[in-house]
């Protein structure tokens, strides 16, 4: 029961903050509410014993990525006149929501009606760093290596892009 209440609260927070994120006019507001979303998602991870991912989520997303965003916002020194004039923002939001509503509704309906839960019994130490790490370096070693290359490429790309062209 406690878990359910906790889940409900966190879900509500995640949804509300993400709605605020997509509808805020200024990017700084979006970023701040996005942090809230990310943290609540991290908490939801923790709720299902994914402790390692919980930590990763907090550190990488809420920590690194979001601070990068905030840093960029600051760095670019965005003024109000630099922001796009989104006159029809609300209409767009409404219209897109209506469009996507059936999509969500159908998926929810399907999930509600189907019996997807396996209810596996978690072993000791499930979701810990050891568990995930073993898995990562045994079964998933190739994707891991590929991701490292990807990160390298991204690094190089980022440097190249932001270099001023002569």
């Amino acid at each position: 029961m406690q878990n359910e209440i906790l889940f409900a609260t966190l879900a509500l927070v995640a949804i509300v903050s993400s709605i605020v994120m997509i509808s805020a006019h200024r990017p700084i507001d979006s970023a701040l509410s996005f942090i809230v979303t990310l943290i609540s998602i991290a908490a939801l991870f923790a709720l299902v014993n994914a402790t390692f991912l919980f930590v990763v989520q907090i550190i990488i997303y809420a920590g690194a990525i979001l601070s990068l965003i905030l840093f960029i916002i600051m760095f670019l020194n965005i003024k109000d006149e630099n922001l796009p004039d989104e006159k029809y923002k609300n209409r767009w939001l409404l219209a897109t929501s209506i469009i996507i509503a059936p999509f969500s509704a159908i998926l929810i309906d399907l999930i509600m009606r189907s019996d997807i839960a396996v209810n596996g019994v978690a072993s000791e130490g499930f979701g810990t760093i050891k568990d995930v790490g073993l898995n990562l370096f045994s079964k998933w070693v190739l994707p891991f290596e590929l991701v490292s290359i990807l990160l390298l490429v991204a690094l190089v790309g980022a440097v190249t892009l932001s270099k001023r062209s002569e």
């Binding site: 889940f7 991912l53 630099n82 897109t96 509600m112 440097v159």
Partner: protein, 101 residues
């Protein structure tokens, strides 16, 4: 519990899509994309917990890594775009269309 997680994931995903399409501010668009990834991560974690298999967690770990690299690229892109156009309006970047042909 799994169903609840899935539904939440779907909702967050939908909100991300709405933001992605509706907003013209590229920073918000970027954040919407991150939200999509997070929604997926959420469902992966939920499934992982349900099946008691940590492979899905590895997947989401990889997704987070990819998101990080993406973030790096996006940030440099923002810098370049803002430097060139002095604006964050996604509508300005439409050289794909036939207007400039």
């Amino acid at each position: 519990m799994l169903k609840a997680y899935m539904i939440l994931s779907i909702l967050l995903f939908s909100i991300g899509v709405v933001g992605l399409i509706s907003r013209r501010n590229i920073i918000v668009i970027y954040m919407s994309i991150e939200l999509l990834l997070n929604a997926v991560n959420l469902s992966l974690i939920a499934i992982s917990a349900d099946m008691a298999d940590s492979s899905a967690q590895v997947m989401s770990l990889i997704i987070i890594a990819i998101a990080a690299s993406e973030a790096a690229l996006f940030m440099s892109l923002f810098v370049v775009l803002f430097r060139n156009r002095a604006s964050l309006d996604a509508n300005l970047f439409d050289i794909l269309g036939n207007k400039h042909a």
